[in-house]
């Protein structure tokens, strides 16, 4: 938010917003997902301007899943379409909409980047966060081995199938360690919580942080 404001953007936060409803959608609870989505659409219809979300998977949900959810619904399909066109993932908004790739951020040391599945494949956002990271002064970007692989969060899956989730997490953390970077940057709160939780559980000193946090260092 501080970054957007520095760029001269008037930022507002609708206090009544809750969750995008992706957990319900992904679990197959479409009736529930619709309820949550309607709440969100109604809320944002009272506002103007672009909608920026700090998680690629929320952007993916708003952009693609809502259209799937309300397909053929005479009332809600058009409303979902209008809403979904206003939504941007954070780095996508900076690079594609604001045309900014250098925020004058400073960082000392190695950084690695994990492209979250829904950011990378869901909404095809990859060059944007990479461009922003390339332009951080003082930072050296180290490529994460097998970066494209899922970290194992997968929302409800990490609770329904913890065994699978744990295996991928192990793999991801071991790949992260190969980079020797102390910090892994992500664009999704889900992956962040999952991987950071894994590092904590294993007693590892490395950190996973959101890209906004890095870009805000000056």
């Amino acid at each position: 938010m501080a970054i957007l404001q520095r760029l001269g953007i008037n930022v507002d936060f609708a206090p009544n917003q809750t969750c995008c409803g992706q957990p319900q959608f992904n679990a197959g609870l479409r009736k529930d997902a619709k309820e949550v989505a309607k709440h969100t659409i109604k809320l944002f219809e009272k506002t103007q301007g672009d909608i920026v979300t700090p998680s690629g998977s929320c952007a993916h949900h708003f952009r693609h899943n809502l259209l799937e959810l309300f397909e053929g619904d005479p009332e809600w399909q058009p409303r979902a379409e209008v809403f979904s066109k206003r939504v941007y993932e954070f780095t996508e908004y900076l690079v594609d909409k604001l045309r900014v790739t250098d925020l004058g951020a400073k960082w000392d040391g190695l950084l690695s980047y994990h492209p979250s599945c829904h950011t990378l494949r869901g909404i095809n956002v990859n060059r944007q966060p990479r461009a922003l990271l390339q332009n951080i002064h003082g930072a050296t970007l180290v490529e994460l081995p097998n970066a494209h692989e899922c970290c194992g969060f997968g929302g409800v899956m990490s609770v329904e199938h913890p065994e699978l989730s744990a295996e991928w997490l192990k793999r991801k953390i071991s790949n992260f360690e190969k980079t020797e970077a102390p910090t892994l940057v992500v664009t999704d709160a889900g992956c962040l919580m999952h991987m950071m939780g894994g590092l904590k559980r294993q007693g590892k000193p490395q950190r996973v942080i959101h890209i906004a946090e890095v870009l805000n260092q000056r």
Binding site: N16, G28, L98, L103, R121, E149, G154, E160, E163
Partner: protein, 677 residues
């Protein structure tokens, strides 16, 4: 509870180190191979779009294409049967088998069927049905043969024995085939060759699958590598092909496009060793085709319709992180039966075709999208998985279903455990009532601070799922909504930054213009890369005499009218035009060659020259070297033809490439550059 059995099976897979190593090998080699194969078609993205459109059109107008296909196949002499379900398909097979063997010589031995790989036959559990009727059915694909000996099901739709290590195959062959224990993969492969060769030559019936039916010509396309597929479709007096009703291509052009993607996606090959186009029976043979519905019509009229675009390449399995941990055998239904189709596509079509028994499979995915990315026809598998989870499968019950759907399996949230479902429903209540949502955030924060007063991370017990492998961050004391103030930052730098900050446009990298390589040179280098041999010559008869003499070969099978036979005799080379399975060298005529894959196109009938001998010699006129399969495919119309791409091969044991399985171990193409003829 059933999901617990599924989770148990998942744990077993994860804890099985042998399996994990085998799976890692499979995944890595397949992904690398696929990437390399796609490098050779820079326009693959456009091809993928076209392939998707072709498949979408086929599924949209399926009835039309099916009628056209069936009419053309029948006109060519193929006997076509329709089966609405597994039982009808099996009945057709049994009837054909009875008929084919009723008036055969009164030998008392059991009816023998040689079978090549067919996922449809797995789907209808054909082998089991045949065995209960005392029919001896032998799987002849090396991987399928191994798992048949082990009494297992395939663990992968392309490499059925991908879950095994060579030590296990060594032990199996030692026990079941009585050979001395050896881990040498070529020796194991050679053993299977020897045992199965007898089966091919004596089988009453051959059964195969079909990769594509061609509506416009009534032809069946089969892609295989080992040579067994060619043998079962050409040697026995009766051939039965099994095909899912959706596996059509409108015409040969469209088929050529699909064939440029299928082997690349499946095995990382530009073309499989044997790409057959079967348009009619072989001389003296009866050819049957059974077209199976088994739930496909229902699937077509359901929200899972897109899953019928699938061309069964298995790329989504190789790309899937779930499959990489599980292997095919862990994809089980609630009744513990192994799903006929595993992996991402299997988690859609197994529930789609067979109902709620397999709903739980669709919940085992993080929806990471690697499958969609890998799919050569761009099937939106994550979307389809969420549709299965939403209870949008066409059949509420089906194979393996016991009674009515129990709680937790009906409609919405299909395959989800009831605890998760309940939690999510509560979350919905909160998410639609902002005040309650805010309040619960406060409560969660309070609770978290009580639970974990000193650390920002909480350790939850394993049964919560989350606590299984990771900690949970303590919720913030003040949620963001309370911390948020919309005050503007009055940064004097704002406007300066704004004007300074522009995305640097990268200079478009100039693409290297592809070198114009002479087709013959390219043909030669492609064939050589496949361990084949190209011999340029002005006088093929002389060159072949010299080659045979150097190899000390005295007698060969020779296709008529391609070499100067008088000169062969003079040189002391004996030859026959008649089938003789004991000969080790066969010489055949290549109609054309393909530069970009190193393939030769020939008559499939010449199997005693191009398939059974250990050494296959093809004579190709240099002027007949074309660029790609698309330039040559029309030549197959109305014929039984085969594109041969290198010597027969397999990677069924530990993904190790082994040359010479059921077909030739060597292929020599004599490229005739003479001006005569």
């Amino acid at each position: 509870m059933s999901t617990t059995s599924f989770r148990k099976r998942i744990r077993q897979s994860i804890e099985n180190e042998t399996l994990q190593t085998a799976l890692d090998n499979n995944t890595e080699r397949r992904l690398k191979g696929k990437a390399a194969a796609f490098d050779s078609i820079p326009d693959w993205r456009e091809r993928r779009v076209r392939a998707r459109n072709i498949r979408a059109d086929v599924i949209e107008r399926l009835d039309e294409y099916l009628s056209q296909f069936i009419a053309n196949a029948q006109a060519n002499g193929i006997i076509v049967h329709r089966a609405k379900d597994a039982k009808e398909a099996i009945d057709h097979v049994l009837r054909i088998t009875d008929h084919a063997t009723s008036n055969s010589q009164s030998v008392t031995r059991k009816t023998l069927i040689a079978k090549s790989k067919s996922m449809v036959s797995e789907e209808i559990e054909l082998n089991h049905a045949l065995e209960t009727r005392s029919i001896n059915v032998i799987e002849t694909d090396l991987g399928e043969y191994i798992i048949q000996l082990r009494k297992e099901k395939p663990s992968h739709i392309i490499t059925p024995a991908a879950h095994l290590k060579k030590e296990q195959v060594a032990q199996l062959f030692h026990e079941k085939l009585g050979i001395p224990y050896t881990e040498d993969i070529p020796t194991l492969t050679a053993t299977a060759r020897k045992v199965l060769r007898e089966i091919f030559l004596t089988a009453d019936i051959g059964i195969s699958g079909v990769n594509f039916g061609v509506a416009e010509t009534g032809g069946m396309c089969l892609v295989t590598n080992e040579g067994n597929g060619r043998m079962v479709t050409t040697i026995p007096k009766t051939h039965i092909a099994l095909m899912g009703m959706e596996r059509l291509a409108p015409n040969l052009d469209d088929l050529a496009l699909l064939l440029s993607l299928l082997p690349r996606s499946a095995t990382g090959q530009k073309l499989t060793v044997y790409t057959q186009l079967l348009h009619k029976p072989m001389p003296g043979q009866t050819r049957h085709l059974i077209i199976l519905d088994n739930g496909r019509s229902k699937l077509r009229n359901s929200p899972l319709k897109e899953s019928l675009y699938c061309i069964r390449c298995g790329a989504c399995l190789n790309a899937c992180p779930v499959f990489r941990e599980l292997s095919g055998h862990a994809y089980i239904g609630r009744d513990l039966s192994i799903a006929p189709y595993p992996g991402p596509i299997g988690s859609v079509i197994s529930p789609g075709l067979f109902g709620e028994n397999y709903f739980q499979l669709a919940q085992a995915s993080s929806l990471c999208g690697a499958c969609k990315e890998a799919c050569p026809v761009d099937i939106d598998l994550p979307k389809l998985l969420t549709r299965v989870r939403a209870g949008q499968s066409p059949s509420p019950s089906g194979r393996g279903a016991r009674g009515s759907a129990p709680k937790g399996y009906e409609g919405d949230g299909a395959g989800l455990t009831w605890t998760t479902k309940l939690a999510l429903r509560m979350y919905t209540r909160l998410s639609t009532q902002p005040k309650l949502f805010a309040l619960s955030q406060k409560f969660a924060s309070l609770g978290a601070h009580l639970l974990s007063p000193h650390s920002e991370w909480m350790r939850l017990p394993a049964f919560t799922g989350w606590g299984y492998s990771k900690d949970l961050p303590r919720f913030a004391k003040k949620p963001f909504r309370e911390r948020f103030t919309a005050r503007q930052i009055t940064d004097s730098n704002v406007s300066r930054r704004w004007s300074e900050a522009h995305e640097s446009t990268k200079a478009a990298t100039s693409r290297d213009v592809a070198l114009q390589i002479n087709r013959i040179q390219q043909f030669t280098s492609e064939l050589t890369a496949l361990s084949g041999n190209a011999h340029p010559t002005d006088d093929p008869t002389q060159a072949i005499i010299e080659y045979l003499t150097s190899q000390n070969v005295k007698r060969i099978y020779l296709q008529p009218n391609i070499l100067n036979e008088a000169r062969l005799r003079q040189a002391g080379i004996d030859f026959t035009h008649n089938p003789d399975p004991t000969l080790t060298v066969g010489v055949t005529k290549a109609w054309v060659g393909l530069a970009d894959t190193g393939s030769v196109l020939e008559a499939d009938e010449e199997l005693f020259g191009s398939l059974l001998p250990e050494i296959h010699i093809a004579v190709l006129k240099s002027k007949n070297v074309l660029s790609t399969l698309a330039d040559a495919i029309e030549l197959t119309k109305g014929k039984n033809a085969v594109f041969i791409t290198g010597p027969s091969r397999t990677a069924d044991i530990e993904m190790t490439l082994t040359i010479g399985v059921h077909g030739p171990k060597e292929i020599h193409v004599f490229v005739d550059d003479s001006k005569r003829g």
